[in-house]
Symmetry: C2
DNA sequence: CACAAAGGAGAGCGCTGCTCACTCATTCCG
DNA sequence: CGGAATGAGTGAGCAGCGCTCTCCTTTGTG
């Protein structure tokens, strides 16, 4: 992968295009064919890039190949994404949102599971299913950080949807008085303090030990899914992966105090 | 990253060099200056490549840069590694071995911790410490699979040293009669069967539920470490990461039945 | 209608992985 | 011992890459 400078150059979250000011008079909302075309081309680029990533992996993603398949000059692509890394960043944000939406699915669907532990399991199963269905996009967000490191910031919001889904299940159980204590005794003081601050900001009312346990479970869940997606469980768990995952995730729920 | 074909071309684990047959007569073990030089140059290439990976990440690793820093023509490098991916594979194997050695450290050192749970903690702490000290090499083995996918096979042996260290702790506890049951009831039958087969092959005598729990813990541990190394815990856990890790790993040990 | 802005095209720079003669030193063997 | 085979190293060169620049066409606006 050449792109020699790569110093996170144009990281001002894509080209600054001041949105066309919205006339307050009777002008219709058509907004011109140009804006529409821009949105469509942007979507086409991302879609083609996703296809190519699914075919060859993110490391092999090439702007020239994308532009070729789209029938446009490679230089035209830079009107939409100022660098290869910015395109990747956009795809990462999309992937975060897609995974987050999948995780939230069981919580907003018509018939959410009744017990907290079952809701927890449903969220984790959704995460696993999405990751197995979109391995390269999962790799984009939970594999090696691909832009030079320190990609986050812009990805901050979408990247928190999965842990917030896990927190929502736990907080819900707590509010209904069903959340038990975290087995095995309280965390050390430093952890307790930081978990309490975290809970105060993001999950008001949640006991600090539960918050710490959920935070750990988030990473553990991701590790479990990554092992499946990245093939680390090849020749280890083969036939019973789904049951193994559900069993492990249930034990994690118990380790948090979810009934 | 161009390397356009990349079809895992020369994956016959590097250049086939029939080892100089070992004369059974009184020939000394010097083996000629050539072999020695070859080993030294190979090591220098890998060392320089490791340096460059530590400086810029594996994605930016370039054979030409390595050869430049070594003062040799880029084409000469292909006498040692037939492709960039093969060099990366060699580095991956080395990283697996280094991590495995770190993990085994507490078990072979002069004064191993006494209780199984403390040995478990010591192994996990060693893994974490190595990963934080060698983030790019950790990314090489637990980030996005970098050669075209399906890298394993050659990495099979070295890649199992960490889980085997975890198994060793658990098996040792079991043999001394100290291993408790896995809390939360037995796994479903399919998991039980596969875990039993796994235990029969790699940890004779270990109860299948314990085997399943250790297998899960391996992935969970890796996820926990990866979150720290890859910056996923930024703005989540900051001050108390070490305590948080130790606390979580202790809870995992309890979840396996280690006293 | 005139003009500015946006989108697109093509050439070109420096980099990359990799191949191909070709040289030179070392090693093997009759 | 001396010719032959082998291995290491070189430099040129190919095609692909990210990215920039200049130029031209299309589109929307006052």
């Amino acid at each position: 992968m050449p792109h020699p400078p790569l110093k996170n150059k144009s990281s001002a979250l894509f080209v600054e295009r001041r949105s066309r000011r919205w006339h307050t008079d009777g002008m219709t909302a058509i907004q011109g064919a140009r804006e529409r075309a821009r949105r469509e081309v942007t979507a086409a680029i991302k879609s083609e890039a996703r296809d190519r990533i699914a075919a060859e992996g993110a490391a092999q993603l090439s702007l020239r190949a994308v532009s070729r398949n789209l029938g446009m000059a490679s230089s035209a692509l830079y009107r939409y994404f100022p660098s290869r890394d910015d395109l990747l960043t956009a795809l990462i944000i999309d992937a975060y949102n897609a995974l987050g939406e999948a995780a939230e699915g069981p919580l907003v669907s018509g018939d959410p599971p009744e017990s907290p532990a079952e809701r927890w399991l449903a969220v984790c199963l959704s995460v696993r299913e999405w990751a197995l269905d979109h391995p390269h996009e999962f790799a984009l967000i939970h594999g090696t950080p691909v832009p030079g490191y320190a990609a986050p910031q812009e990805t901050g919001g979408p990247g928190t949807r999965v842990p917030f889904a896990l927190i929502a299940v736990t907080l819900d159980a707590h509010r209904s008085g069903a959340l038990g204590p975290v087995p095995g005794g309280p965390p050390p003081p430093a952890v307790l303090a930081e978990a309490a601050a975290l809970a105060a900001e993001h999950a008001p009312g949640l006991p600090a030990p539960s918050m710490a346990a959920v935070t750990a479970a988030w990473a553990q869940l991701t590790g479990l899914v990554a092992f499946e997606v990245f093939g680390q469980y090849t020749h280890v768990i083969e036939e019973s992966r789904a049951e193994f995952f559900a069993y492990t995730v249930r034990r994690m729920a118990a380790g948090i105090g979810l009934p």
